[in-house]
């Protein structure tokens, strides 16, 4: 079969559904990843001993456990203790755990980079600790974390493909089905790869724009 015709008439329409699922995985994961990442980071810097210990354990476990294994635990492991998740939910949960652990490292670094005098100044103005963290520290720290968070977002785009291993038919899964059926591995995975490259490149460009938009003059 003509390759161009194959790509245009069979491959691309078949990939479309998977592409939408991939976008869904990313859209559900990223906001929760950043949110939980921020909570864990604040816990590690300002928490009391048990909180610090717990948040550290969280990061160590989810950074050290391979994501694919984590997905297996959530999808194949949890039913044995009576919790059954749909493949999509299991994938999003796994991605959130992994993503938030990495995000928290960047946010923690940014929090540490903000001078301690700011915290003291906030308290001296009569703010509570919580208020200082929310209104003084985090707005600055989150801005400084943007390059790191974007980096993690790019990773998220790529490892969303692992959802296929727990039967979520996202972009890679849709590609695998076409490739197996028509025996066109080279064309199919090259095109699938190009779609990911497109998403990654688009993110990098978007990130530069975002950074400029939220930058504080001087």
């Amino acid at each position: 079969m003509d390759q161009i015709a194959f790509i245009a008439e069979i491959l691309l329409p078949a990939l479309w559904g998977g592409f939408v699922v991939t976008l869904g995985l990313i859209a559900w994961t990223a906001p929760f990843g950043v949110l939980i990442g921020a909570v864990v980071a604040v816990g590690r810097v300002y928490g009391n001993r048990p909180v610090r210990f717990l948040s550290r354990a969280y990061v160590t476990f989810f950074k050290g456990c391979p994501l694919l294994l984590l997905l297996f635990i959530l999808y194949f492991g949890l039913p044995s203790i009576g919790i059954s998740l749909s493949p999509f939910v299991a994938a999003v949960l796994g991605f959130i755990f992994c993503n938030s652990a990495y995000d928290s490292e960047y946010i923690r670094g940014s929090i540490r980079s903000i001078k301690e005098g700011q915290f003291t100044a906030g308290l001296a103005l009569g703010m509570t600790r919580g208020q200082v963290i929310r209104h003084v520290i985090l707005p600055q720290a989150m801005r400084r974390s943007i390059p790191g968070l974007v980096n993690e977002f790019v990773y998220l785009i790529k490892y969303s493909s692992l959802a296929y291993m727990i039967t979520v038919i996202e972009l890679t899964g849709a590609g695998k089905m076409v490739a197996t059926r028509y025996f066109t591995y080279n064309e199919t995975f090259f095109v699938v790869g190009m779609v990911y490259l497109f998403l990654v490149t688009l993110t990098t460009i978007g990130a530069h724009l975002l950074e400029r938009r939220v930058a504080i003059p001087s």
Partner: protein
């Protein structure tokens, strides 16, 4: 049968999986180094077309998911060039190496660029050729600077090796999954598997920190020029 008996029964089976995983990590880091370092040198000192080609390589292998790369090489490229019989382990190590090489190139490039340009000029004015200057002046310093960043590749590659499950490499996760589907106990096996990964991670990082301390040159921290 209770869990400890299962784990003891399958212990040798798991250990061969651990050996395969460690083998994948070492060959991936090795292949990545062999590709990444020359790529970084080419990016910084190469002619325009060379630097451009290397940039394309880095962009491509950093932009594609590892799973897609594994499928592309294992089912597509290797059979297409007549290497369809190559074992999944070799394909996995090769693809992990190509993937890691793109990341390592970025690490080494940053380290090379952090060394003051005056050093190159000084070496040239002492009569060294460009190659000599790179080999005897730039690289010894750049490698030292790159080491901490390079160490961070280890945990990433370690967790990445598990993706080779998808092409049937008999590494740790694959072995654990075999046990799960034979014994019908999922959670304890998977958690034990996660524990093994955490131990491998910890041991490797300890080793790399020792190496960092051993090769550190007193008073040499930034790039110094």
């Amino acid at each position: 049968m209770d869990i400890s008996a299962i784990l003891i029964d399958w212990f040798p089976f798991l250990v061969t999986g651990i050996i395969a995983t460690v083998g994948l990590v070492l060959s991936a880091l090795g292949v990545g180094f062999v590709i990444g370092l020359p790529a970084a040198i080419g990016q910084v000192y190469g002619s325009r077309p060379v630097a451009f080609l290397i940039n394309v390589y880095v962009w491509f292998f950093r932009g594609l998911p590892l799973l897609v790369l594994l499928f592309l090489f294992y089912f597509g490229i290797f059979p297409a060039i007549g290497l369809g019989d190559v074992s999944p382990f070799i394909v996995g190590a090769f693809v992990l190496g190509l993937h890691g090489g793109a990341y390592q190139a970025e690490i080494f490039r940053g380290a090379i660029l952090s060394i003051g340009e005056g050093q190159m000029t000084a070496a040239r004015s002492l009569g060294m050729s460009r190659t000599q200057a790179i080999r005897h002046v730039i690289l010894p310093q750049a490698l030292l600077i790159a080491l901490p960043g390079w160490s961070n590749e280890y945990p990433t590659v370690l967790t990445d090796t598990s993706v080779c499950y998808a092409i049937g490499v008999a590494e740790l996760l694959t072995r654990a999954s075999v046990i799960v589907s034979t014994e019908y106990v999922a959670m304890p096996i998977y958690l034990a598997c996660a524990g093994i990964y955490l131990v491998l991670n910890y041991v490797g990082m300890k080793g790399l920190h020792l190496l960092e301390r051993r090769v550190s040159v007193p008073g040499f921290e930034s790039g110094g020029d």
